[in-house]
């Protein structure tokens, strides 16, 4: 069924994706199309939404550098978060995978744990830890001599990245974990017998093979952090707005939905382009692993 697949069955993939496709067209594309339509409508504080077709919102986004700054910050934070999550999450998944059964499941739980409590409570925890200059984190870092002066975490991009990476970490760990399950342990042995040290094995042998997992994780983390709302809102506050909080503001505070819809549409389009682009790039680079 499978190898045949590549040659035969021009219909098979469509049959398999049809249910999901129908679901998406039915309950996602239509609402989304409505939202895109919305971005071309007009709006006034006291006249509400006017279903006309104008480019006002788009022109505003294109010409006002305010929006460029927001989007730039959004992607900067998302990229940093993704990097941090990948840099820490992938090794952790690898370490976990090498533990013996009992510990493995225990620590897996511990790492998945954060996902199980509300993002509100979780971020609250961070806020408590960061808590200004005399927050626990700063006290600890200073007493360890890592830093001399307290690092401001709350209402800074640093804090946002740290908290976002924490929130997103389990996604990365789990994705990589799933990919690691497929590795043939003998291959690692083979590399070792050829003289490869642990670092080389990870970089040259393990990494390329778990790329699909890292990629899944990175896509999830990147997308979620670029469209995240709660964490940036709580840690970043209103002065460090990102695209999602900007859209949120327009939708909920100003009620200028057409403008919010335009921001959201732009964010969506940019994200889709970035994700699909990097996906294709990496799939080509690691073509043999994805076969």
């Amino acid at each position: 069924m499978s190898a045949v697949a590549e040659e035969r069955g021009a219909r098979a993939p469509w049959a398999l994706t049809a249910p999901a496709l129908m679901l998406f067209v039915g309950v996602l594309l239509i609402p989304l199309a409505m939202t895109v339509m919305l971005s071309f409508h007009d709006w006034g504080q006291y006249k509400g939404i006017e279903p006309v077709f104008i480019l006002k919102n788009w022109r505003e986004i294109a010409t006002d550098p305010y929006y460029a700054e927001m989007f730039w910050r959004t992607f900067r934070i998302a990229i940093l978060t993704t990097l941090l999550a990948a840099l820490l999450g992938a090794p952790e998944a690898y370490i976990l995978n090498r533990m013996s059964g009992r510990w493995k499941s225990f620590f897996l739980l511990v790492i998945l744990g954060p996902l199980l409590i509300s993002v509100v409570a979780r971020t609250l925890g961070w806020a408590l830890l960061f808590g200004g200059n005399n927050g626990l984190v700063n006290k600890l870092l200073m007493s360890l001599g890592v830093i001399r002066f307290p690092i401001p975490f709350m209402f800074t991009e640093t804090g946002m990245v740290v908290a976002l990476a924490h929130v997103m970490m389990p996604f990365m760990v789990l994705s990589v974990w799933a990919a690691l399950q497929r590795l043939d342990p003998q291959i690692e042995n083979a590399a070792m017998s050829l003289g490869a040290g642990p670092v080389t094995i990870i970089r040259r042998i393990i990494m390329p093979q778990i790329m699909p997992g890292v990629l899944s994780g990175a896509i999830i983390v990147f997308s979620l952090s670029a469209s995240a709302f709660a964490t940036p809102a709580i840690i970043g506050g209103r002065r460090l707005k990102v695209a999602a909080t900007l859209a949120y503001d327009e939708f909920l505070n100003t009620l200028n939905w057409p403008l919010g819809a335009a921001v959201a549409t732009l964010l969506l389009v940019a994200l889709v382009l970035i994700v699909v682009g990097s996906n294709a790039l990496i799939e080509r680079r690691y073509a043999e692993v994805f076969r």
Binding site: P13, A20, L28, P31, L88, S105, P114, A178, Q181, S223
Partner: protein, 268 residues
């Protein structure tokens, strides 16, 4: 299997500490006798756990969240697994576009989705119903189910499937007996992420939840509207306790690493 070196263990320890620190803090604060959040707390009290009893809607909301999460992540898998298999193994026109479409819910700010769904469901007469909530959650958790299944299905040894086919297994049987067990780690991880995502979603659900279908995060959010008091932390602590107990039981009776790593034991 090689063991982890000391450096790896140090890394691991720090990692785990950082991961649990905020949660630990939340749990600690839950035992405060004060009426407000404070750290470090002076004293120990179960006051805020007792307070939960005065808010039966929290308990109700917990069940709503649980049901919603379980149901929507399961339904999402039903749609996502076949789609992931198609995307993993066929090279067909429109493949990339489909993949992008299926991942798109990840990329839309949930507030936008919330409002889009609210408008949509209101216009088709499903506004405020539990069904609408489930459909919306299926959509937002779908990418998780898809992406992790996809990671497991790419690069899977196809000759194993060929062997099954040669023995007469086709279609559903092939899937159930061979393909699914082989991609199970991915599917289960996907389910777990999907469940958690649904369980935790607030921004979108706020718009769709109606009286009676308010989820726990919505409840907590509404509660902390005017006052953040330690009740949020004690409720969180309870959620942690409940889920940990459930997972430990699962581990006891089935083996969590087997659930996550698939049934065929990794052996040497």
């Amino acid at each position: 299997m090689r063991r982890n070196g000391p450096l790896a263990l140090v890394f691991h320890t720090i990692f785990v500490i950082v991961m649990v620190a905020p949660i630990l803090v939340v749990c600690l604060v839950a035992f405060t006798p004060e009426g407000f959040l404070s750290l470090p707390t002076n004293g120990f009290s179960l006051r805020w756990f007792r307070t939960i009893a005065q808010y039966p809607e929290f308990i109700h909301a917990f069940w709503v969240s649980l049901g919603l999460g379980a149901l929507s992540s399961f339904v999402a898998l039903l749609f996502a697994v076949p789609a992931a298999l198609a995307i993993a193994r066929y090279r067909f026109r429109g493949r990339d576009a489909l993949a992008a479409l299926f991942l798109s819910p990840l990329m839309i700010p949930h507030v936008v989705l919330g409002i889009a769904f609210l408008r949509f469901f209101t216009s088709v007469g499903l506004g405020g119903s539990f069904a609408a909530l489930i459909i919306a959650h299926v959509i937002i958790v779908f990418p998780f189910a898809l992406r992790l299944t996809l990671a497991a299905a790419t690069g899977m040894d196809r000759t194993v499937e060929m062997a099954a086919v040669s023995l007469g297994a086709g279609g559903w049987t092939l899937f159930r007996r061979v393909t699914l067990p082989l991609i199970l780690p991915g599917v289960i991880s996907g389910w777990a992420l999907a469940f958690i995502q649904s369980f935790d979603d607030l921004t979108m659900t706020v718009f769709l939840a109606a009286p009676g279908t308010e989820t726990l995060p919505v409840r907590m959010f509404l509660y902390i509207q005017d006052n953040i008091d330690p009740l949020v932390t004690s409720v969180s602590a309870c959620v942690i306790a409940v889920t940990m107990t459930a997972l430990i039981l699962l581990d006891r009776f089935y083996g969590l690493d087997r659930v996550l790593a698939g049934k065929g034991d990794p052996g040497r």
